[in-house]
Amino acid sequence: MLEMTEFRFHGRGGQGIVLAAAVFAEAIFREGLYARAFSLFGAERRGAPVTAFVRAGQERLMPRCRVYRPDYVMVIDPTMTGTAIPAGLKEGGVLLVNDRESEEETPFLSSLPPGGSYRIYRVDASAIAWKHHLTIGSFPAVNAIMVGALARVSGLASLESVRAAVEKRITARLEDNLQAAAEGYRQVKEVTAVGRNFQARSL
C-alpha cells in the first residue's frame, strides 16, 4: 500500500506551475490513485515566486493543508535559489530541478545548503522546450517536461498517464508538449556529488 506522498513545486508567476501541479495530479489520478493539487499565491503577478502542492495516495480523504514535509520538491526554474527550496524536504527525499547539464557545479546547485540528505535529479527542460519552440512569453514553457520528469523520478505515473494528463489539461501546441514531456521523462538524470563536483547519473 502506497503511503501518502507529498510534493511541493516552486516556480514563478507565469511559468504555469499551478498547471504543472494539476497535470501531475491528473496523471497520478489516471493510475488509479487519489491526488490533489493546489496552490497558494498572492495577487497574480508575472515573475513572483509561486508555490504549488500535490498529494497522492490510496485514500480519498487526505489533509487539506500546505505541504510542510514534502517527499519531493520540484523546482521549475534554476534561478530560484534560497533556503526555501529544500526546506522541510524529508530525509531521503528527492529534489528535482530544471537545470542545464554540466560537469561543473551550477549556480543552483551551489546555492543549496550543505548537509542535506536527499537525492537530486536534474533535467534540462529549458533546452527541450527551446528545441520544441515551447514558450510562454519569453520563458521556456517547461511544465509538461517537468511533469514527465517528476513522473519518472517518483514512479507514480507512467508516461502514458502523463501523456493523457497533458492531453487533457494543455491545449496549446499539444503535439510538441507531448513529445517534450516524453523527452523530460526519458532525459531526467540523478546528480551525484563527488567532492564539490556534481555528476549526472542516468536512471
Partner: protein, 383 residues
C-alpha cells in the same frame, strides 16, 4: 458517473450550470473569480441555460439577484471577503424579503491589511442576517451542496450561502464525481416559488412596517430557519437515492470512547480526520450547517463520546469574544440539563419593553420547557 479532476471553484460553477439557474450576476474577487469566469464561459457557449450578467460591484450583483428572484427567477451569485462585506446590507434585505437566492462564498480574510488567506470571518460575520449557511469540506461536497441549496432555499424561501475555504477548496484540483444528465434531470426541478413582482397579483412588497409587524416577521423567519435540518434531510434522502451520497447538518468521527472531541467547520475537517488515527481517544465533529446552528445534532453527537475536552477550531476570531464557532458551541451546550434554565426574551423589531411585559415575565412561572435548551419568549406575544 464520470470522475474528473477539477477545482472546488470549478465544481461550484458546474453545479450552477446543472442546477437550472435563470440568472447569475456576479463581480470578480480573488479567490472566487474562477467561478464567475467559468460561468461566463458556459454562458458564452450557450451552455448555462440561464443568463449571466457581469455587474459593477458585489453590491449590484446581489441586488440584481434580489430583483430577479423577486420576479420568480432562480438566481445565483458568488463572492468573497470584502465583496461579501460590501453586500452586507443586501444580505439582510434579501433574507427579510424571503428571496431564495443562492450564493457561494469563498472564504478569505478581511482587511486591513490585504490578505488572501481563507479566514472564515467573512461568512461567519453574516451569521445574523437570516441566511442558511452550509460549510463544505471537499470539491465533491461543493458540487452536491450547491445542487441541494436551490430546493432547500426555495422550499423555505430563505437565501442560502454555500461556503468554501479559499485555495484549500477553491483552488484544489481533486477528483469529483460528476452526474449523468439523466441523474440531474431526476433531481433538479424548475423553481416553483411564487414571484413577488407579479403583474397579475400586484402587491406592495416590503414597504414600511411597524416594529410589532417586524417582530412577527422575524419570529417567522427564525422558526422557518430552524426547519432547515428537517427539509435538508428530505432533500438528502432524495439526493442519496440518485447519487448515493448524503450529508448531515453535523457529522462525527471516532466519537465512541473519545475523551477529546475536536469541533470545526469547512476544509479543516479532512485535515483533522487524517490526523485522528494518530491521536489517542480523540474524536471529531464537523459542522456543515452553521445557520441554523445544529445545537441538537451536536448534543446528540457529543453524547456518543466521553468528552472531557472539546477543542473548537475556529478559522476566525470575533475580537473581544474569541472564535465564533466556540461561542456558538458553548451556548449550544450550556444548560444541557445541568445548568440553570436560560430564558430569552426577544424584542426583535425594536419593540418596547412595557412594565407589564416585564412583570409578566418575572412573576409568572415559565411554562414547561423540557427539551428546549433555551426557553424563548417573544415580546410581541406578551400582552
Amino acid at each position: 458517473m464520470p470522475v474528473e479532476m477539477i477545482t472546488g471553484n470549478r465544481a461550484a460553477a458546474l453545479a450552477v450550470q446543472q442546477a437550472g439557474v435563470d440568472l447569475v450576476s456576479a463581480y470578480p474577487i480573488t479567490p472566487q473569480t474562477a467561478i464567475v469566469e467559468d460561468i461566463a464561459d458556459f454562458w458564452a457557449r450557450g451552455e448555462l441555460g440561464g443568463e449571466f450578467v457581469s455587474v459593477e460591484s458585489e453590491y449590484a450583483a446581489l441586488s440584481y439577484c434580489c430583483g430577479a428572484s423577486a420576479a420568480g427567477a432562480r438566481t445565483f451569485t458568488a463572492t468573497s471577503s470584502h465583496g461579501l462585506a460590501f453586500m452586507h446590507e443586501m444580505t439582510h434585505w434579501i433574507a427579510g424579503a424571503r428571496l431564495p437566492v443562492v450564493m457561494a462564498v469563498v472564504n478569505r480574510a478581511l482587511g486591513a491589511p490585504w490578505c488572501l488567506d481563507p479566514d472564515q470571518g467573512d461568512s461567519l460575520s453574516q451569521r445574523d442576517t437570516g441566511w442558511i449557511q452550509l460549510y463544505c469540506a471537499s470539491a465533491q461536497e461543493i458540487f452536491d451542496t450547491i445542487l441541494q441549496a436551490f430546493p432547500l432555499s426555495e422550499s423555505l424561501l430563505l437565501p442560502c450561502m454555500v461556503v468554501l475555504d479559499g485555495f484549500y477548496l477553491s483552488h484544489t484540483y481533486e477528483a469529483v464525481e460528476l452526474p449523468e444528465p439523466e441523474q440531474v434531470k431526476r433531481f433538479v426541478e424548475p423553481p416553483r416559488f411564487a414571484a413577488q413582482v407579479d403583474p397579475l397579483q400586484p402587491a406592495n412588497m416590503h414597504g414600511l412596517a411597524s416594529g410589532e409587524e417586524v417582530s412577527r416577521l422575524v419570529r417567522e423567519r427564525h422558526r422557518d430557519l430552524q426547519r432547515v435540518p428537517a427539509v435538508l434531510k428530505e432533500i438528502n434522502e432524495r439526493f442519496a437515492a440518485i447519487f448515493g451520497r448524503r450529508y448531515a447538518p453535523a457529522e462525527g468521527k471516532a466519537l465512541e470512547g473519545a475523551e477529546t472531541v475536536v469541533v470545526t467547520a469547512g476544509s479543516i475537517y479532512e485535515t483533522v480526520v487524517s490526523a485522528l488515527p494518530g491521536l489517542d481517544k480523540t474524536g471529531m465533529i464537523r459542522i456543515k450547517v452553521f445557520r441554523p446552528f445544529p445545537a441538537e445534532e451536536l448534543r446528540s453527537l457529543l453524547k456518543k463520546s466521553e468528552a472531557r475536552r472539546i477543542i473548537v477550531i475556529d478559522r476566525n476570531c470575533s475580537p473581544g469574544a474569541g472564535g465564533i464557532l466556540a461561542q456558538e458551541l458553548k451556548s449550544a451546550l450550556y444548560n444541557d440539563g445541568s445548568g440553570p434554565l436560560v430564558q430569552n426574551l426577544l424584542l426583535a423589531g425594536g419593540i418596547d419593553l412595557s412594565p407589564q411585559m416585564l412583570r409578566q415575565l418575572v412573576m409568572e412561572a415559565p411554562a414547561d420547557c423540557s427539551g428546549d435548551l433555551i426557553m424563548e419568549q417573544w415580546g410581541v406575544d406578551l400582552r
